[in-house]
Symmetry: C2
């Protein structure tokens, strides 16, 4: 499908993508660039990529597809490093979780003959680093494409086919809509998990309570999400701060409403809310977006 | 271990306990009582119990161990039904998630020769009903015992051994401490999940957004918890309303703090909080309270 692909940043997502590319024979050659030479050595040793170096411009040279898979806060440094090495006719993409601010930032540094098409594969685990990646990460997950104004239609089609070949389903969306919907389905849930765990840690410290022992009552689910990559999530909230702030307000208003019902022992209201929320789980299972086994199949 | 055990309410917890009792040969006879005759028929057909009837007093008769496994709001009705059928020297327990109010309520109706020792096995899934139960539900999970003032020490020891035989680890705690710690490790996480899903549903309705498709970004984890038994959770928040209200306030204060950091693009603060929360996951895994595989082992 491609002659050479370069992945910049072999973390969980980057290394999973590299593995999926190899497994599906989507490129003759696949290389990566990482700041750390320990990582560059490791990804070659593990046969995740064919070559890897901290010299990003060198790795990018002659690539048909370049994937930025580093934290959002590094995009500016990355694009300035590679802009003069991007091959005419190549496709530049990323895997970032927020779009509105980074798309124009990259756009203004990309040569005319390069199609800059932002990608967001909605997939991940709480683990980080090249060793945590696996080739099936994108299977059955949605990947949202947000093409820049300069991207060629044929390249958008090509990138769409690429994501489908690694197992994803593809949607095309503009940056504003993307950032809004992801604040609901991903960013706010993560923030709530971070906040529950943070609140718990504060209480644990102050009152010396053993919260670990009894975490199977619900807390443990949130600690999984709150163990996600801190740098990645710091950048997401900084980049999507307006949507996140608005959603936090809506969340607090609804929480105050539930608190009132709890204080007033309003059985009807609580039962109504708790019954309504049950339905969405079924829809998610029907859409194949989670496994059907109870308790995520944990035993 | 016992001659006859009666389980009142064969839902997820009750039927799992019945299965575990059979599997570990902990009683010569095991019976249950359910309001619905469809359920009474089913639990006998499925060989979960030896006999079952809606006549609770009749089922309880001659039992050495009686387990109330119905919603907290039904305890008063249940205890009034069975008080005159409780055998002298028997143990009465339950599996409820809140203690402070129900313990004295039951206590005042229990004959002197009966040891009323409240239990709380911290285990469950998002499913409900007798068919969703399984014998290993309590394995490696903590069970908290809260003996009433009248309970015999030898009976507390016996009940402790019983829970250990179905796979649990046992702690003894007073009602106040129990309700406080469980509000942190279980009740508040559930309320946050309900609130996220409820907020999402409101937005979905108003803005016609497809939140199902992109739920793998985090939301789906919360929908699992928000699919738990609505009646059970309604009762928990009514019964533990004071602790829950206080915790909601702490949660909102911390959330406002995070919102401020997001609005001010305070990278340091966000990174600090998100890094701190990562550690607790490791402690939970070390304590054997969740499975070690990333993403709960989902694939």
């Amino acid at each position: 499908m491609f002659k050479k692909i370069c992945i910049i940043g072999c973390g969980l997502i980057g290394s999973s993508l590299a593995r999926a590319i190899k497994e599906n024979n989507l490129s003759n050659k696949i290389v990566s660039s990482n700041r750390s030479n320990v990582v560059n050595k490791k990804v070659v040793e593990l046969n995740i990529v064919d070559d890897s170096s901290s010299d990003t411009a060198k790795m990018v040279k002659d690539s048909d597809l370049i994937v930025i898979a580093t934290p959002l806060s590094s995009y500016k440094v990355v694009i300035l490093k590679i802009k003069n090495s991007l091959k005419n006719g190549s496709i530049l993409t990323d895997v970032g979780s927020v779009k509105s601010k980074v798309i124009p930032l990259v756009q203004k540094n990309v040569p005319k003959g390069v199609s800059w098409i932002s990608s967001h594969p909605i997939a991940g685990t709480e683990e980080s680093g090249p060793e945590s990646g696996f080739s099936k990460l994108f299977k059955n997950r949605w990947c949202i494409l947000t093409p820049s104004s300069q991207a060629k239609d044929t390249d958008v089609k090509l990138l769409e086919t690429f994501w489908k070949k690694v197992g994803s389903k593809v949607d095309i969306m503009n940056a504003k809509q993307h950032d809004y919907i992801l604040s609901i389905t991903s960013h706010i849930p993560h923030l709530m998990a971070y906040n529950i765990v943070n609140t718990t840690l504060k209480i644990k410290k102050k009152k010396e309570q053993d919260v670990i022992k009894y975490s199977a009552g619900g807390l443990r689910d949130f600690t999984r999400i709150a163990a996600s990559n801190p740098i990645m999530w710091r950048d997401i909230f900084i980049q999507n701060s307006e949507n996140a702030s608005k959603m936090i307000d809506e969340f607090i208003a609804n929480l105050q409403d539930l608190k009132k019902a709890i204080k007033n022992k309003d059985e009807k209201k609580l039962e109504k809310v708790f019954t309504k929320t049950k339905k969405i789980r079924k829809e998610i299972l029907k859409a194949g977006q989670d496994i059907e086994k109870p308790d995520f199949g944990r035993k």
